[in-house]
């Protein structure tokens, strides 16, 4: 049996309407990997509708995510947009509404060509309309549970690279002068319970820092 049918059969048993959600952050030129994300979900969706189950396929464009860094294909002038939502950043070619739209449009066109028809939502609009209000509330109230689940599934103790440090000049400088800087590889050595401090390793040197400070250090996990 096809794996999509296996998954669909499980969902059929629940005997209700299903929403199959997928999405990517349109932060750069689309590639074949972007398709994997939506095609796997689409496969399950098709299997479900074939079985006569009521289901929606939705696609959420995460265009309210921040620009993480100046990617190689961007002009240097984009430095000033790092950390801003990509729906609020000007289009690189000037023909689209925003940076996000520049990359999103070609992706959505490709979907049309291969006959995948999701309901398209834009995160930027949903944030602004307040559609996420309740979910954000729930997420904030359960932040520790969520963190636990993510850590369990993604396996901790991976190395990561620091992308951005939020916070004022004072904090930035303090972190910097102890070696915590953009572009540095960082590894978590230990975490104290009850939101206690983290111990991290950078350049072979370990230091302990409070959760509040740690939360301001944004990283990209290295595979």
């Amino acid at each position: 049996m096809h794996w999509a049918d296996v998954l669909a059969d499980k969902l059929v048993k629940e005997n209700r309407k299903h929403v199959l959600a997928t999405g990517i952050t349109p932060s750069g030129p689309i590639h074949i990997g972007n398709m994997r994300e939506i095609l796997t979900t689409d496969a399950v969706y098709r299997s479900l509708t074939d079985k006569g189950v009521d289901a929606d396929l939705i696609y959420v464009a995460d265009d309210y995510d921040p620009l993480r860094k100046v990617y190689p294909y961007l002009p240097k002038s984009y430095e000033k947009y790092v950390g801003k939502p990509i729906s609020e950043i000007p289009c690189p070619c000037g023909d689209h509404k925003s940076y996000a739209d520049h990359y999103l449009t070609s992706f959505l066109n490709s979907l049309k060509e291969i006959g995948v028809k999701p309901l398209v939502y834009r995160a930027s609009e949903m944030y602004k309309n307040g559609d996420y209000k309740e979910s954000i509330q729930i997420a904030l109230e359960n932040v520790d549970k969520i963190r636990e689940i993510i850590e369990k599934i993604s396996k901790r103790n991976k190395k990561a690279k620091i992308t951005v440090i939020h916070g004022g000049h004072g904090l930035q400088h303090r972190l910097n002068s102890m070696g915590i800087r953009n572009g540095k590889e960082i590894k978590v050595v230990s975490k104290q319970p009850f939101r206690g401090p983290l111990t991290v390793e950078i350049c072979g040197c370990q230091m302990t820092l409070g959760r509040g400070m740690a939360r301001k250090i944004m990283v990209d996990v290295l595979q």
């Binding site: 910097n176 230990s190 401090p197 072979g204 040197c205 370990q206 302990t208 409070g210």
Partner: protein, 571 residues
Amino acid sequence: MKKIVLMGNPNVGKSVVFSRLTGANVIASNYPGTTVDFSKGKMKIGSEYVEIIDAPGTYSLEPTNKAEEVALKMLKEADVVINVVNATNLERNLYLALELLERDIPVIIALNIWDETHHLGIQIDEKELENLLGIPIVPTVALTGEGIKTLVSRIKEAKTNEEIKPTSREGRWIEIGSLIEKVERVEHRHHTIRDRISDLTIRPLTGLPLAAGIIFISFWIVRLIGENLIGYIFEPLFEELYRPVITGLSNWLGPGFIHNLLIGQYGVEIDFVESMGMLTTGLFVPVGMVLPYIIAFYFMLSILEDTGYMPRLATLLDNVFHKLGMHGHGIVPLFLGLGCNVPGALSTRTLETRKQRFISATLLAIAVPCMAQMAMVFGILGPYGIQYIGLVFFTLVFLYIVMGLIMNKFVKGESPEIFLEIPAYRRPSLKVILKKTWMRVRWFLKEAIPFLFAGVLVINILYSVGFLQWLGTVLSPVMQGLFGLPGESGVSMIIGFLRKDLAVGMLLPLGMSPMQLVVATTMLTIYFPCVATFAVLVKELGIKDMLKSAAIMVGTAVTVGFILKLVLLGV
């Protein structure tokens, strides 16, 4: 005289370099923030004497706590700077180096902890670094003395670098990046047993039980060493060698004020604790009862400090200390304070805000008895059973936590989060440990004996004029009514301002029950610090905050004394 200042990041070995250069001894440990004040020493370079100044460590020339402010002040006086750099962490250390070079002061770099670079697979081309920075760079291993001679011979080559202009923080990091690329190569290295021990002692699941074990064993060893030193060395020494001498002296002197002052009451058998003579109590309390525990305590503390365990303990206990308005580094004033409150009070400087320093200093004064006082408590309560000693310590631990929680709520200001470097573990050298223990013991003797003599002298004079007897009667209603203690114990409270160990000793002749002794010794800890600590606290907190802190101490002492009376004495 030319002034040479040692500058560098915390825990890079400046104090060890200082000791090597000057021959003067300063305390050095394996954790950031050991040096919180400057030390001065002299050395001869060629035919000229120069002054060497050891400054507290700092990560940059923009201070974030009081100790770093001291470092910056020292820099302003410098004619030459020896920048001590941790070779195992060159990149970060170069930031301060560049900041120093931007100033108009000649700099020489000591590339310290050089031996560790080989173990860590780090290769540094120090010649190339010297070319690029344009100042002399000398690899050193201060702990063994390697490279110190070269460092001294090259101090005169220290110079400024005109090409390094003041720039932004970003600019410096970019410069450092290109320097590192040219001079440093790091090979990949496998997890060693040292890394594994480090991981085990800092992860909560294994680290917390280990911490409990380490603290318990440390105190157990302190008691073991202390008791045995007393039993096998100090008591025989006093009883068998010293007593005949003093008895002879007593007979020769005959009765009179001089006899009372030097030995105590004439015609009764000499009791070293109770007789209150300068040569009996004045010597026996510090040397015969306290010194053995001081030796034992500082021996263990030095081991904990030099291995590098303290910052790990600070990490594990950060949660608790954060609730008390401090952060994990608050463990340092607490531990140092258990030896003597004076260095404990000084070390509050490594905390960042006024609130943290106020809470840490006040808790130190209220709930942390010094080793001298503890030794006396062991001495007088020990014979009645360990449960009485336990009661005193339980009350103090309880107070530390409760008062911390309360002050965290009511003291205004911020208590920022912990941000602390965790140094690599080092195997402590017995020679260094013994030397450090000796330095602290010598310091104790120098501080304690004059105060004890003064205390005994004051007591004798006041007794002979009848003042203390009168005071005892006057205080009697308060002491009796509020705390269920004899009036004379009020006199001991007053003497406690001079020396707490002597004050505890003074309780002995009053014939109190063990429970009364528990109340009295607990109150002696809480109500006020000794004069030496008081002087440091005034300087560290300022008069206004010290007055507030003192009000909290006295208020707490009265409240706790009264509650203990109700609970323990049942009257």
